[in-house]
Amino acid sequence: MIESAQRLAWRLAPQLIALIIILILCRLVFPGFYSIEFQNGRLYGSLIDVLNRGAPVALLAVGMTVVIATKGIDLSVGAVMAICGAVAASSSVRGDPLVLTLILTLGVGLICGVWNGFLVSVLNIQPIVATLVLMVAGRGIAQLITEGAILTFNDPGLIFIGSGSFIALPMPVVTWLLFGIAVAVLLRLTALGLLIEAVGINRRASTLSGIRTPVLLMAAYMLSGLCAAIAGIIVAADIKGADANNAGLWLELDAILAVVVGGTSLLGGRFSIIASLIGAMIIQAINTGILLSGFPPEFNLIIKAAIIVIILVIQSPKVQGVMTFLTVKSARKRDVEQTAQ
């Protein structure tokens, strides 16, 4: 048990260090960054803001991590968010009870996942192309549902999901924390994590070992669709309306970035959902920090890009190799694995 905790800490160390450094930088450019207040039964403050605003990307990153671990990618999640937001809004406007609205929306997210999964696992289309289809078509579908307008609703139950609070935390924070940890635990307590990694590293060998690869791939894309549906509900509930044009726009790229910053290789295989969640928080902390710092907004994207480049450079195999070399040199007696062949 202690051993596995150690392994996890070792795995998460680079992401945690990066997050801490970003938070320190935020404090330097905005002195009030760490102050947290308790008002009207919930917490307020920049840190809470980071957790709250980061919810959509964190949720998308959960599904994206699993899809990327299977050596795939899901470009459609932003569009699926828009579809699901539209479905939720139109269902709410129609007067459906909240439970039905949620079931419908999550169901549509799963169906989007089934579509992607079908293209990838049954028709064997390359994931980047297969999910591009829905990425393009998705916004059109969402516009059809909202009939081109911003569809507003005022069901307090639905709105609560976006802006309510639970044990002093905003609902989106509670949602992504619980969901992300639940998925991470599910994958590691069952054999799913191992099987997903095996498929991502060598699909053919995995099939020959008796793994039902098509089913597993389908499940990965369905999970990604489900994550996008939840994120879509949160975004729609937050603004009390469905905006087919802008909901989730470019968020698929942030989600992929969160996974990469989290240290999961785009080549598939080894993955960590927790690391991706930290990655999502790193990205959101950068966003919020730049916003609060008062830099001219035109610098924001450039600063963000620069910080991300630095994080990726530190994680790159070349730099890691140098770091390993240095640690090996300083502690030569430590039994470090290296191939002697």
Binding site: L194, A205, T207, R212, R332, A340
Partner: protein, 507 residues
């Protein structure tokens, strides 16, 4: 003729350390002009490390390296290449989607007005390959040619670029007999031109057919350099294995007469375009061997039996019950296991640990909801690492870092962990060193004695003869003969493979 000034490349007292291990311990190696020098040793002996030190892929820790009497210190393989040392690896390191000519002249294409002069390049490529007695269409993509032709292209490129020393790292591992002969002709030609050739292989016959001298390494130690002509094969094996010799020598197992019940039966089983319908029955505790040339339908037979390909005719019966084997999973549920020919692509999950690779098939059969706990996986892995003598410092090491023989054992372990009734082995001993080779053969015999049924495909006929109680011979995607009992001899197999016409030679 054999003076020291004939030496083109000499390595003296090379030492290479890795954290926790000495990979090369004062190893000497010298290569003469116009000789083929075989570098032999078991996996892990240090052959690859020595080669990598000579080609600059690794930096040596001690020792000196001289080329033409001049001290050299190549920084990387490119540097070594420009000094005159070229290397051709077992897996051809070329770009299959480019044309043959482009591969030959990659990075130094003849230009005209700053653009690649394709016509000139193709002309030069044809001229270059003509030196090797090859007349092929150089504008076709490289992967449209056989591995043998790709090897020759790789050699032509390496020689053209370097021109003093050519290192061949297991070039023949995936070639058939005819292709090997072609390759040898080419190597002899290069030798006559005065090149020094270093030849690494696991096939001892090839060593005797081609090499002038032999250097043997064992566990990173230099064992010795001998003239091939004056080194009996038995002595060579002793040099390579040390004391294990007596065990490694093949003892012919008495062929047991067919007994016991037929457990696995296939009637009229086939798939159009892959393999013609065949009948096959396998008894408990029986090893059925499959012999045939590459492309004769050996692997296709195995894949059909394991459900990788779906049969379009015939029935399969397991223990008297008709079953449908439409996927590997269905076959596994009937107690099948399959060690494929291409370990890297179809066998190992490279980035996963040895532990996870061993546990994988069992885990897949149990389903995702019933995970093997970490401690169960560890127990499983440790048991098979010990039982099969998988040589590794740590069960948590990614399996891709193991040598070929140990990877093969780990994949065998993966299947043994599922306690299979019927194990299909496709070329279980290909590309494996002599020591592991003998161990795997012993393992096949043990499993058979424990009552497991095995189907073994192998190009090494002596090996098949040693452990099979029946041998099926394949030719042109058809099962053409079945040899049993006393009829099982290498000569009979060769005759059956070579026989023309398709009458069945059932003995």
């Amino acid at each position: 003729m054999m003076q020291s000034n004939d030496e083109i490349l000499s390595a003296t007292a090379i030492v290479k350390r890795f954290p926790g291990a000495i990979a090369l311990d004062h190893v000497n190696f010298s290569l003469r002009r116009g000789e083929v020098h075989a570098l032999l040793g078991e996996n892990g002996a240090g052959k690859s490390t020595l080669i990598k030190c000579m080609t600059g892929a690794y930096r040596r820790d001690e020792g000196s390296l001289r080329l033409d009497g001049v001290e050299i210190d190549p920084r990387d393989p490119l540097d070594a290449q420009s000094l005159g040392i070229g290397t051709v690896y077992q897996e051809v390191n070329l770009l299959g989607n480019l044309s043959v000519a482009e591969n030959l002249f990659l990075g130094r294409q003849p230009r005209r007005f700053g653009l690649v002069n394709t016509r000139e390049m193709n002309r030069q490529a044809r001229a270059l390959l003509a030196n090797y007695g090859m007349d092929i269409n150089v504008s076709r993509s490289l992967d449209s040619y056989s591995v043998a032709v790709q090897q020759v292209v790789a050699i032509a490129r390496a020689v053209d670029l370097s021109g003093k020393v050519l290192i061949l790292d297991e070039p023949t591992a995936s070639l058939d007999a005819q292709e090997v002969e072609m390759l040898f002709r080419i190597v002899r030609g290069l030798k006559a031109k005065g090149l020094g050739v270093v030849f690494i292989t696991h096939f001892l016959e090839q060593v005797y057919a081609l090499s002038d001298r032999i250097t043997v390494l064992r566990n990173g130690q230099f064992i010795g350099t001998r003239e091939t002509a004056s080194l009996p094969r038995k002595d060579l094996v002793t040099m390579m294995l040390g004391h294990e010799l007596a065990d490694a020598e093949k003892e012919l197992r008495a062929h047991q007469p067919d007994s016991g019940n037929v457990r696995f039966e296939f009637n009229g089983y086939g798939k159009a375009g892959k393999i013609k319908p065949f009948d096959l029955s396998v008894r408990k505790g029986e090893v059925v061997g499959i012999a045939g040339l590459l492309g004769s339908g050996r692997t296709e037979t195995a894949q059909l039996l394991f459900g990788v390909d779906k049969p379009d005719s015939g029935t399969a019966t397991v223990a008297g019950k008709t079953v449908s084997l439409n996927s590997p999973r269905a076959a596994i549920n009937e107690g099948f296991g399959f060690c494929p020919e291409d370990r890297k692509i179809e066998g190992i999950i490279g980035d996963l640990s040895i532990r996870e690779n061993i546990a994988l098939a069992l885990q897949a059969r149990r389903g995702w909801a019933r995970p093997l706990s970490r401690s169960e996986q560890i127990a499983l892995a440790d048991r098979y690492i010990k039982a099969l003598d998988i040589r590794t410092t740590d069960r948590e090491k990614p399996i891709k870092l193991l040598s070929g023989g140990n990877q093969q054992k780990a994949i065998l372990a993966r299947w043994l962990a599922t306690n299979p009734q019927f194990l299909i082995l496709d070329e279980p001993t290909r590309g494996i060193d002599v020591g592991a080779h003998a161990e795997i053969i012993r393992l096949i015999e043990d499993l058979c004695a424990q009552g497991m049924s095995l189907l073994v495909i192998s190009s090494e006929l002596e090996e098949l003869v040693a452990y099979s109680s029946r041998i099926l011979v394949l030719r042109d995607r058809e099962h053409v003969a079945e040899l049993t009992g006393g009829a099982i001899t290498t000569q009979n197999i060769v005759n059956a493979i070579a026989a023309s016409g398709s009458e069945k030679a059932v003995q």
